[in-house]
């Protein structure tokens, strides 16, 4: 069963025109800046928002083609939706929340509760008789996931599943999500504002900007060839627009030596991990050396992202050990070296 949707609708000033594909057993992340229309796309797939044009198909079934006659309401689509704000039913116990989907399908109360109990155990929730208000953000997210899965949906839709969760709960939630996504047979589509969340969970990314799909591919493909500055920032990739002549690319006041030159205007991309930092000007092979100032140091899970400013604004990713060895701090001047072989040049 495959999702094939071309979503055409307007939300205020935003015009969404996006083609989304997700195969069975594939996790696709819809990423993009705030207000790009990610959640609206998800709601259109769920049937909470109607299409103006385009169509939504899951397997052989047509859900919506913009006409009233072919619109299938959400209750008949059989989808598992995990909302960003979880939307647990406040008046019901956690167990009854999870049993709600099976009960809606007409399953006997006792059996539905037994099913719900199993799903709660699978996501590691023991507070079955309490009201949702007693749950932490991470627990609420896991209950919302269990509630969606207990409905035995044909497709999973998750809106920012990791967003409303604090750092300590994130690790548990991420592993719970990853294992349940892997075990789910239908298409899995998740909306993510944070590229880290998307890469952590998805096989493939679709980048949405201002209602349009800018690029899609694996995280590696996006990082290697980001088609917009947003994607480059998103993937943490350095992206420069310059002019190439011979083997030299001129970018503002800086010059980069490349090994695969293309004459004319080019886009040069560089992974932050390919930037090496030195306390003194390095001697020897690297030709692309820049004296830069540390603007900002951001700590990621196991490494640091160093934002540099100067003749060539660069982002470098280094290990925690090198941050200490280099005594990196904001305002420090250091030397950044780039191997010519790491620079990817493409025509602009």
């Amino acid at each position: 069963m495959k999702l094939d949707a071309s979503i055409g609708l307007r939300r205020g000033a935003l015009r969404i025109d996006a083609h989304l594909l997700a195969g069975a057993g594939e996790t696709v992340a819809l990423v993009g800046p705030n207000g790009a229309g990610k959640t609206s796309c998800l709601h259109a797939l769920a049937g909470l928002v109607r299409l103006e044009h385009g169509n939504v198909r899951l397997g052989m079934r047509l859900f919506d083609d913009g006409s009233a006659a072919n619109f299938i309401p959400p209750e008949e689509r059989r989808l598992g939706v995990v909302f960003q704000d979880h939307r647990l039913f406040p008046a019901m116990s956690v167990l009854d929340n999870v049993a709600y989907g099976p009960r809606s399908r007409g399953i006997d109360k006792r059996i539905a509760r037994a099913t719900a109990q199993e799903w709660l155990e699978r996501v590691g929730i023991t507070k079955r008789d309490e009201k949702p208000v007693a749950l932490s953000g991470g627990e609420a997210a896991r209950v919302a996931l269990a509630r969606a899965l207990a409905y035995e949906p044909d497709m999973l839709l998750l809106d920012e599943p990791l967003a409303a969760v604090d750092a300590s709960a994130r690790v548990t939630l991420e592993s719970v999500l990853r294992s349940h996504l892997a075990n789910f047979e239908g298409p899995r589509l998740l909306v993510a504002h944070d590229i880290g969340d998307a890469i952590a969970l998805a096989d493939r990314l679709i980048v949405l900007e201002a209602g349009c799909v800018i690029q899609s591919g694996t995280a590696d493909e996006l990082a290697r060839r980001p088609l917009s500055n947003y994607v480059a920032d998103l993937a943490g990739v350095n992206r420069f627009v310059g002019h190439c002549q011979g083997s030299i690319v001129t970018i503002g006041n800086a010059e980069l030596t490349v090994v695969s030159p293309i004459d004319g205007d080019v886009v040069v991309t560089l992974h932050p991990r390919a930037v090496s930092l030195f306390p003194e000007r390095p001697t020897g092979s690297p030709r692309n050396v820049f004296e830069l100032r540390v603007l900002h140091i951001e700590s990621l899970h196991d490494r640091h992202r160093v934002q540099l400013t100067g003749s060539l604004p660069l982002v470098a990713e280094v290990t925690t050990a090198s941050v200490e060895a280099l005594r990196l701090h904001e305002g420090r001047t250091i030397f950044a070296a780039i191997k010519a072989t790491e620079l990817v040049v493409s025509p602009h």
Binding site: P74, E75, R87, Y100, S104
Partner: protein, 267 residues
């Protein structure tokens, strides 16, 4: 509800004093003239108890009817977008703005024994509403229903539809969403709607006396008893009034969260 950050103009104090005097002084007058030493004897008189009992019976029945008719009506009005919505709304609101005595007269002409529809009720089913307890209940429902519908409808309109959306994605049909998600969520509104309707029914006078008459232990509810007692024993009228004031105070207490903004009083 957040407090107003600006201090009110001083002149508004005059309005506060006038309003408090207008409403408070009559209550004070009533209290000063009340036959306090014999008030318990007055209340336990059989005609007082029968009026009280009849009032409670009829007002609760009218509330139940308002709930049964008003809730589906409010659900329809909150979601229906056709122009019929406005037609129905105007009709439902009418009893709220119409003098109750006019309503009573209209009820009499429609459902009276010789009324346009009442003659068939009598001939086919043997039902005679005027001058019966059932007539009191009909008259009270007539005036109370709009209060229920408006309060319940505004609760429905203000209710968060996000949980209902989630329920729909979990396969719940509209009826299941209404009963399992929406109604539990608007329970406080329904409680307020019921109490408002009940208080309105309890105080009903004009429509009741016109449609159902003033027959002791059949149609003479508390307000009618106050009116009747005024001519024979004013002390009894005052006592009956105090019972009604006590009930009104209880209504205010139950609905305190709705009508008294929190946070401001604590300062």
């Amino acid at each position: 509800m957040t407090g107003h950050p600006h201090p009110p103009p001083r002149a508004s104090l005059i309005a506060v004093i006038v309003a408090c005097g207008l409403i408070g002084l009559p209550l004070l007058g009533l209290a000063l003239r009340a036959p306090w030493p014999t008030i318990l004897d007055q209340i336990s008189r059989p005609e007082v108890l029968s009026a009280l009992w009849l009032s409670i019976e009829c007002s609760l029945a009218a509330t139940a009817l308002s709930f049964a008719i008003g809730l589906p009506l409010a659900v329809w009005m909150a979601s229906e977008t056709s122009r019929w919505n406005n037609v129905v709304r105007a009709l439902v609101l009418l009893p709220m703005v119409l003098p109750p005595v006019v309503g009573g007269l209209a009820l009499l002409l429609a459902f009276g024994r010789n009324g346009v529809f009442g003659q068939y009720l009598d001939a086919w089913f043997g039902i005679a509403l005027p001058f019966s307890t059932a007539g009191v209940i009909v008259a009270e429902t007539w005036v109370a229903l709009p209060f229920f519908v408006l309060t319940a409808e505004s609760g429905l309109r203000a209710s968060d539809t996000r949980a209902a959306d989630a329920a729909a994605t979990l396969g719940a049909k509209p009826w299941r969403i209404l009963t399992t998600i929406t109604l539990p969520m608007i329970a406080p509104s329904l409680q307020a709607a019921s109490i408002l309707a009940w208080a309105r029914a309890l105080g009903e006078f004009g429509a009741t006396i016109t449609f159902a008459g003033n027959l002791e232990s059949t149609t003479r509810t508390m307000p009618l008893a106050v009116y009747t007692a005024l001519e024979t024993s004013p002390e009894a009228a005052i006592t009956l009034s105090f019972v009604l004031i006590a009930i009104a105070a209880a209504v205010l207490f139950v609905l305190r969260k709705r009508w008294f903004p929190t946070g401001r009083t604590a300062r």
